[in-house]
Symmetry: C2
Subunit: 568 residues, 2 copies
């Protein structure tokens, strides 16, 4: 074989193995060193290619696709700091448990650590934030090599998909020349199939769990973020048999698509209810069954921490289960689905009824009160009410996810909610939304603050290369709104605005013009309602809602004081 044929065989071995392992989406950032792999992906119709000039945004775009599909998603970049730019998304993917396959192109060994341009030490460069980091050899003509590359790629994707899912890293060195034979035949692969059965309980364990649940005279289920593949129908049957109130974090996606017969079990007002000390004291559960990630709600966290229920059963497939409150008494290391055929049928309790009634009261109260408020919460509520059946809603971290938690009420509509909560960063949010939209193709809404929008404004570059259908609602309170809820907001005012408020004074109609987006600026709820009713006329729509940080805090606090007063 010629050198060119050897190189072609090498990269096609990789891309074919990735294809066989289920990779469909490849996010590429332009560069020279990655040429062989870029051509190998681009010349194979099995892959959907997305270009993104900014590698940081590319990382989060891939993460969005992975979140929406739970399939391995490939990132490809050139050598040097390009690879460093993936780090934020890799960190998030590690904690959000998403199967990214990161391919960093590298200089050949003789150009490492000798001052060659665009050459950095890429070996293990993502530290503990990837599950595996492989430094591949240069292309050579050897059947050993071919088989090893194929199998190493297969192992890596398997590892990325093994619970808890997470990113893996291949560092791939290339020596010039970098061109390949586009038409060269695809290599035959020898590894045929991976069969990975899910964990299941044996009889003894089933009995033990059944007993744990049965001995509770009062119980709640706490459902945090759940994976897109979660079987909600089976879950509701299970919850219905238990008869326990389900405190549904918005990212559990149990507030949407709720079957009518289980509607009352779906508790969506707990964030507000648990602000009442009286309610807390009167409603300490004996047992908490927690599934999914940890919920957003701070009152819920404080409630569990302060009253430490007798049994807190955390169902988490990772040995390093999530429980930062340190309240777990039992850890079931499995997916929640293993519980669903236990059929623990309990009597409905007084305790459960109290939750349902309180939830119902607060739903009504909120509807009444919200009409008279003009804060960010009211804007968020207005948005949620306006959403049609069959759309996706992505929320930024910081204030938006808290507004979703508080104001997104249970609904029969089919609305899927997403957010990056592995590390709760405000980076990469636009890219994540675009990635999710690309994977799911549904009309998509993104609720985001001005700082988070600004942070990933380059996420929008992807719209120059791939079509989207996205409406971005920016809550522009000119700076770090969430800090106004912290203790420092009341002290050292001289430094607060400098260090935390960080008012940039920026508005985003210019960005909208740059990316040819439909744009509206909104200052009142009425105007917002009117704008939301208008037709979407561009692939990208931006609605900028101007609010006031101080008024938001005041309105927020007043609303809850009034509601809690009524409850008590």
């Amino acid at each position: 074989m010629t050198n060119k044929e050897v190189l072609t065989h090498y990269v096609k071995t990789m891309t074919t193995a990735l294809k066989n392992a289920g990779v469909k989406h490849v996010i590429i950032s332009p560069g020279s060193r990655s040429t062989p792999l870029a051509y190998a992906f681009a010349s194979d119709d099995a892959f959907s290619i997305t270009m993104q000039v900014d590698e940081r945004s590319a990382g989060f775009y891939a993460l969005g696709v992975a979140k929406a599909t739970l399939q391995p998603v490939v990132l490809l970049c050139t050598s040097g700091t390009a690879a460093s730019n993936y780090y934020p998304a890799i960190t998030e993917a590690h904690y959000a448990r998403l199967p990214l396959i990161v391919l960093t192109s590298d200089r050949p060994h003789e150009l490492r650590e000798v001052g060659a341009p665009q050459a950095i030490d890429q070996i293990h460069m993502y530290g503990h934030h990837v599950k595996w980091s492989v430094d591949l050899p240069l292309a050579e003509q050897s059947s050993k090599m071919t088989q090893f590359i194929e199998r190493h790629v297969q192992r890596g994707t398997s590892l990325a998909l093994t619970a808890p899912m997470g990113p893996v890293h291949y560092n791939v060195p290339f020596r010039e020349p970098l061109l390949i034979e586009m038409e060269q035949e695809e290599p035959e692969q020898t590894f045929i199939q991976r069969l990975a059965p899910q964990a299941s309980f044996d009889q003894a364990m089933r009995e033990e769990v059944r007993q744990l649940l049965s001995q509770a005279d009062s119980g709640i289920i706490v459902a945090g973020e759940l994976p897109i593949t979660f079987d909600t129908a089976a879950f509701w049957t299970f919850a219905g048999e238990l008869g326990w109130p389900v405190l549904c974090d918005p990212l559990s996606n149990l507030r949407t698509n709720v079957p009518a017969q289980y509607e009352a079990l779906c508790i969506d007002q707990y964030d507000a209810l648990l602000k009442s000390p009286t309610f807390c004291q009167n409603n300490i559960p004996h047992t908490v069954l927690r599934i999914g990630a940890q919920p957003v709600s701070k009152p819920l966290a404080l409630f569990l921490k302060q009253y430490r229920p007798e049994q807190v059963i955390v169902v988490d497939e990772a040995a390093q289960y999530r429980d930062f409150l340190g309240v777990a008494t039992h850890h079931i290391q499995a997916q929640a689905t293993v519980l669903f055929d236990l059929h623990v049928t309990l009597e409905t309790t007084e305790y459960a009824l109290r939750w349902k009634e309180a939830n119902s009261l607060f739903t009504t109260l909120m509807q009444e009160k919200i009409e008279h408020i003009e804060d960010e919460g009211a804007f968020a509520y207005t948005l949620f009410e306006s959403l049609q059946d069959g759309v996706d809603l992505i929320s930024s971290s910081s204030m938006p996810i808290r507004d979703v938690d508080t104001f997104f009420n249970r609904t029969e509509k089919d609305i899927q909610l997403f957010a990056n909560r592995g590390t709760n960063g405000i980076d990469g949010v636009i890219s994540t939304a675009l990635g999710i939209q690309q994977a799911r193709k549904r009309p998509t809404y993104l609720l985001i603050g001005d700082l988070a929008f600004l942070h990933d404004v380059n996420g929008l570059i992807a719209t120059r290369f791939s079509k989207t259908n996205l409406t971005i609602i920016i809550m522009n309170n000119d700076g770090g709104g969430i800090f106004s809820y912290l203790p420092q907001a009341k002290h050292e005012a001289a430094y607060f605005e400098q260090l935390f408020g960080t008012p940039t004074g920026l508005t985003f109609e210019h960005i909208a013009a740059m990316y040819e987006a439909q744009y509206d600026a909104v200052y009142s709820i009425d105007a917002f309602k009117a704008v939301l009713k208008q037709e979407k006329t561009a692939q990208l729509r931006i609605i900028e809602v101007f609010t006031d940080r101080e008024k938001n805090v005041a309105a927020h606090r007043q609303l809850w004081e009034q509601m809690i007063e009524r409850l008590e």
Copy 2:
């Protein structure tokens, strides 16, 4: 002491030690967990604080300040992906040898790896790209702790400043509550002073180097990027005694401020001259003395690689000296300044005269030819000619640094040139320029392509919090212009634009409006000249030059063909 006093004592011990170690500039990104350190820095007038919402840009801003001062510069961020965003700048700082002091705030130990929000594994998170990574303990009331923190901070900054300089990382955990006593007295420090003498030669070594240089019948000095503190006057005296032509990379800053008597020694046309095979063959030096980083010029690299001069002496203070061509025969592990009192005085050779004459010919030729060209090179040339005495010029990697290399001729003007060449990334360039401007306070020009501008557009956020004086010249050729010079530009046209050209179709008048910059769009050299003569009326000025990728390549190639014809 109260807990608050203990915490205050802890962070003030750190900030005082940093102050005593010479830190003046602190770049902070807003966040909650970093509150104690943010307040400690902000309440001490010794520190100049810059806020930057985007941590990636913050990293490059700090890097710019470090490049301009060679003093330790502090970065401070909250926990989580904020810290991951520093990675690109840290990578560049490692290879560019710049003393960044990276402070990442962390959650306390009980909140690590238990699913707490914004908590990631920050220990050693920057891998091999920092010289030292310290995980500090929580604040406690103990004199042991105070002394240890002070001395660890002192050691770290010393290490950052030790050749080769580089970044160090402190991970600092904080438990809530995070407020400090702003007025609390500064802790007394016990470590008083660091004395770090520079390396110097002993008699035997001096003799050896003197002999190496004396035995050459033909020699050149190749000067790559040199640190801002480099003693150019002493260098020119040394070079004058040797009488060797000095091939001055623009980042050596030896093309500017050239003393009249050494002007002829300053060779600035070698990139063009060494494109001629005849010139190369006739001018192989016996000895090359290389100082500073490796030059930008590809013809120079090929020349050295092809003809492998008998002696190639690389002067580099790092054991891992920079020589990706693998042509070095000697490595002097020291700063170049140790050579300057060797006083090796040699006779002027025919060889040296040939270089001087060829250089002079090409200077004249270029001036003639460039008048009739309208490509990116001609725009760059026009810009350089227009620059006044006493300004700084920052160049992006990719095409701009090559245009600087080719078209920035030697001058008596005091113009300081900068670029990020540690890893040659196109990321963080705007931020680096803003950091340099802040440290030096001179009128500053940035030459940058459209993709690099877009990549760090968030660098501009810093202009909302700190004044600047920056003129950005964007060469907008709508995509990755440099790739048009690569082999793939001629093949597989179907994929070339998708994978490499990546035309975003974006223009930047909107960004200019968003950041209240003075803005001009320019389509011709005449218009460019006129615009450059107009007064700067805003702190930020953006001149967008629209060029055509294909025409640039053609004009570029034609210019050199004509010039080389004349030479041969």
